[in-house]
Subunit: 143 residues, 2 copies
């Protein structure tokens, strides 16, 4: 898509440090890494969010993510990886991109996973679950 920086990277028009070009997508270094070696993986097509990724693209695209995650870990001698994507909120570029961040125990990335909250009661948890279940059922009918 014209004006999309990630489409520009896929097309080779925007210069960046590419680690892999694959039919399923392109993987390149995030220029402002959480930790050095932080890679972004994008599909070649201008797909905005995860929900828009076609069914037939799931295995090739996440297969690429999987390969990149393994390579970030082994190549950089990392203890593990963090693999994450933002849909819409906090999504800086509206072209699906999966972050693969090398992790080391004690690296200070406790992350946004703290603090946690809690449900006021089992009943409150159930109301959340029920809304998600209803949406799953509704979306299934629409497919």
């Amino acid at each position: 898509m014209t004006g999309c920086v990630f489409c520009g990277i896929v097309a080779g028009d925007v210069e960046t440090v590419v680690v892999e070009r694959d039919p399923a997508g392109v993987a390149f270094l995030d220029g402002r890494p959480v930790f050095k070696g932080h890679v972004l993986v994008v599909p070649r097509d201008h797909i905005e969010v995860l929900a828009d990724l076609p069914q037939k693209a799931l295995a090739p695209f996440f297969g690429l993510v999987q390969r990149v995650a393994t390579a970030v870990e082994t190549g950089l001698g990392a203890g593990g990886t963090f693999v994450a994507l933002n849909n819409r909120v906090s999504q800086s570029v509206p072209h699906l991109h999966v972050h693969v961040v090398p992790r080391t125990k004690g690296d200070g990335l406790r992350g946004f996973f703290w603090p946690r909250t809690k449900y006021a009661s089992p009943e409150e948890a159930e109301t959340y679950a029920e809304r998600i279940r209803a949406a799953l059922a509704g979306n299934a009918r629409e497919r």
Copy 2:
């Protein structure tokens, strides 16, 4: 696997608030949510990290994650979602689990994506990329 709480949830032996049971996996509420409606999606088999997910499971499993992400967003009227998984480091349960967290603009979850660092030079970035590329090539040979 005996002693794995997520295997217990898959088997129905551990009580939790399930939102979806699918051949590809089970989705249930995280009991200590980042935001209420935070769901975990796990494969039925005891797979430890993303790298261990078999190729044939990629499309069904990430298809389930995709459906759950859409349902969390629409069912809860969220502005978006955050979809994330930890491999080894910060992985509380050694059974692959994808977090699907409802997001709202201004919800305060700037997350671990800040602060960012930077590469000292283009050459430094290139050394990181080269190590990841070498690992990708090495892993490809082993497959």
